[in-house]
């Protein structure tokens, strides 16, 4: 399977990536492992997950997807063959089961990353993504941005101003976030 460069990083990802949001809801751990084995066998080296998975997001199932990938990684080994992407949830989707309401603050991103790494049974992610912006945006079919409808953004701008972390997308950045290789 053809591989393509991931941004300007030195990583090459297969042009098909295995999505995992069904693992832990519509798919059992065994089924998840079968899918992962088959995908890798077919040439996929790129696996995408998120802390909030599986979908639909629920407190009682949150983290199962990463845990199923983690148990597979533990059995399989050869972590370095794989490009693993996960995501930190942002504000405004009612997910109070994540840190009392997720925000993209430095502290929360560190907490989210550590928890994801523990579930995945690995010590690094290749790609870490902001699951959605920490501000009011159009999503899930909304059209016509309404500046007045901005209550979420009003709340979410303050932590940015305080954190002064220019590497975090404060205004115009897309959903992807910088590559994270812990310890590198």
């Amino acid at each position: 399977m053809q591989r393509r460069p991931l941004g300007k990083t030195d990583m090459q990802v297969s042009r098909l990536c295995l999505g995992t949001m069904t693992f832990g809801e519509q798919n059992s751990e065994q089924e998840a492992h079968q899918q992962l084995d088959r995908a890798v066998d077919a040439g996929i080296n790129f696996i995408d997950t998120a802390e909030m998975y599986p979908v639909p997001p629920k407190a009682e199932t949150q983290g199962r997807t990463e845990a199923y990938i983690g148990s597979w990684l533990q059995q399989r080994g050869r972590r370095d063959d794989l490009i693993i992407a996960s995501k930190a949830a942002g504000a405004g989707r009612g997910m109070t089961h994540l840190r009392g309401g997720p925000r993209h603050t430095r502290e929360q991103i560190h907490q989210a990353l550590d928890a994801s790494l523990a579930r995945l049974q690995t010590d690094y992610l290749d790609l870490y993504q902001l699951h959605w912006p920490d501000r009011h945006v159009n999503c899930f079919g909304e059209l016509g941005y309404v500046p007045g409808d901005d209550s979420e953004a009003t709340r979410s701008r303050r932590p940015w101003a305080r954190s002064r972390k220019p590497w975090m997308p404060a205004r115009f950045a897309p959903w992807g976030s910088p590559t994270t290789r812990r310890g590198a």
Binding site: P5, G7, L16, D48, P166, A173, G176, T179
Partner: protein, 160 residues
């Protein structure tokens, strides 16, 4: 853009990718972001390339297969409006006319886009996974692409 500028000028970690929905029913990425993907080398990781399975055609005409996500979870209504169904039917008919599997055609369309770094496939069965994987071998003909564009011009982005 601001984040990329700061990363490039200050030597900070750089955004590597964007994960937005992209499929035959929602090609809005092409309008404003495809150029940025190209110029800034921030490619698309295409989310929902089958529009939650809708582009397979399995939900057309009110069908609700028992194990389908849209059957199980009614909250997912993004891809099932009347206009979405009309567009879906048109894409499925293109596939049938050309002896293609509708889901594989939809996936091959996404994978072929120059701004796509990787196409995020998902499956709940190994049969679906095999079909999705096989889409990697499929190159759509110019004729199929033109028919797809004709539907897109008529019903642009019914599920933004």
């Amino acid at each position: 853009m601001r984040c990329l500028h700061l990363a490039d000028t200050l030597g900070l970690p750089r955004v590597a990718s964007v994960q937005n929905p992209y499929n035959l029913l929602n090609r809005s990425f092409e309008v404003g972001l495809s150029e940025i993907a190209h110029r800034e080398a921030v490619g698309l990781l295409a989310y929902s390339p089958l529009a939650f399975g809708v582009l397979s055609g399995k939900y057309l005409d009110g069908q609700r297969p028992a194990d389908g996500r849209l059957t199980l979870f009614e909250r997912f209504s993004r891809y099932t409006s009347d206009i979405a169904q009309e567009a879906t039917r048109a894409y499925v008919e293109i596939a049938r006319r050309h002896d293609l599997d509708p889901a594989q055609m939809a996936l091959a369309f996404v994978t072929a886009q120059p701004f796509v770094t990787s196409n995020i496939i998902g499956a709940t069965t190994l049969t679906q996974l095999e079909s999705n994987l096989a889409s990697d071998q499929l190159t759509l003909s110019a004729e199929v692409m033109e028919e797809i564009e004709a539907v897109h011009r008529r019903i642009s982005n019914p599920c933004p």
